[in-house]
Amino acid sequence: MVKRQFDYEQKIKDLKGKLEELNDLSKNMQFDLSNEIEILEQKIQEDRETRYQNLEPWEKVLLSRNPERPGAVDYIAALCDDWVELHGDRCFSEDAAIIAGIGSFEGQPLTILGYRKGKNTKENLLFNFGMPNPEGYRKIERLLRQAEKFNRPVLTFIDTPGAYPGIGAEERGQAWSISKVLMTMASLKVPVLAVVTGEGGSGGALTLAVSDRLLMLSNAVFSVATPEACASILWKDLERVEEMAMAMKITAQDLFGLDIVDEIIAEPVGGAHLNYEATIAEVKTAIKKHLSDIIARDRDELLAERYRKLRNIGRFNE
């Protein structure tokens, strides 16, 4: 049976509960087990840390999809002094699956773009589970051009299952809207910093990942298609998703090894959702470092390097 949720934390909780019961009992019975219990507690803590150091890729997929993880909205709220959300593609519709606007990060105005997932059913319906329609990509396109006009660096947050596979989306040119953003991002004349905060799924997620620096949270994943889709298409066997998640090399660590990711941002033990404050502090440090780096760079050089980096992705015999 394929694991459908990552319930390790529940097990730890159960274990700690038992330990507390033991502690209470021993106290009532006048035993002094405090030393032994402390050692046990420490052992559990160590095991937990080791466990999180050694998550299986599929476990990371499950963690990365946890709806309680901080998303673009949370990072923007925590990192920006000023923030104005902007709306619309000027063409067909506003797309709530994309959050977009101008924020001030430590005094630096930024165009900030991100996917917006819901934290509950109501929000999920409102934000279409973080899956944009073409209008979302066209809103991105519009605001990228605006960032260029005002010479304003761009910061993106990525967390989406991908572009919405719907009839309307295809009617209104999903493929066309995505390719245009890819091209624009590749050549945008301002610095671009991207952070994968959760799930990066397929071409619909790639749009906001084309950047000068790509950062990833330590439990985030990025894949060409979901392990479920790949297992079903390539192996005709949905039960083998865990194996597929492993084979596809989708974790931050794998992608760092493949030179696609520039830095991994460490999440607190247990995952980003258990400690917003610590997560945001780490993300802030990383953004600050890379942003000041790329802003300071000679612009032509930065653009040439962005292109070179993209141009060199891929390996083959010749």
């Binding site: 390719s179 890819l182 596809m248 992705i313």
Partner: protein, 287 residues
Amino acid sequence: MIKNTFIRKKYFPITPNIDQLQTQIRANLSTTTCPGCSSRVSDDTLAENLRVCPKCKHHFSISAGQRIELIADSGSFKEFNTGLSSINILDFPGYEEKLEKANEKSSLQEAIITGYASIGGHSIILAVMDSRFMMASMGSVVGEKVCRAVEHAIETRCPIVICTSSGGARMQEGMISLMQMAKTSAAINKLNEAGLLYISILTHPTTGGVSASFASLADIIIAEPGALVGFAGPRVIKQTIGQQLPEKFQHSEFLLEHGMIDIILERSQIRDKLTCLLNLHKGGNNG
């Protein structure tokens, strides 16, 4: 005239076994059932008719070699970057075997052929995808060959024509394959900066990562009749929305109506229209 070229049993250097293969196919199967009208068409008729059903105009797939014969001036095609072949970057289980089988089936090194050619006397760069090779999914080699073709176009200041057909990204290369979307889109931008003409010809099927990168970024987008073109595959969409898809959904006629492509051309018209378009862009951007 095109027809003659097409059935001419000429030695075709880049796909050395193609004639042999065709002969084999003809020997094994002398008729084919048309998916468009269910009538049985003899393979000879199909070949004479550029693999278009004479009754319903259904366009059967053709190989990259046949496509090149179809649109390029006879003998003008000179392949470049022939030596590129895929490696199993991620140690993905079974990828080598898949590549080997695709190679056997298609006699191709990879899912795209690129080279110099001329159309109606105009020098161009020509790239043609071949869906017999792993559904022409885009991995490192396809991405690289598209970029190099674009770079050849820029160097020689020639227009580029890309004939697409693809099932999407090459999943066996994971994120590396996904990144080819960004890589090829970035290359097309260089083409735009250089003011060079790029025509894409979308053939059945062109979906996923190829549709959402270089295929849809052309100055002029041509499609064959009935070609399925879209980002998400119809099966995925049907599964997601839980309802039937409209007739002709994602077909080229549907795309034309929705403003996504410039022209639908029957296979036999493509060469002439390309010649006309190349004539109209002769001056390049020298106005």
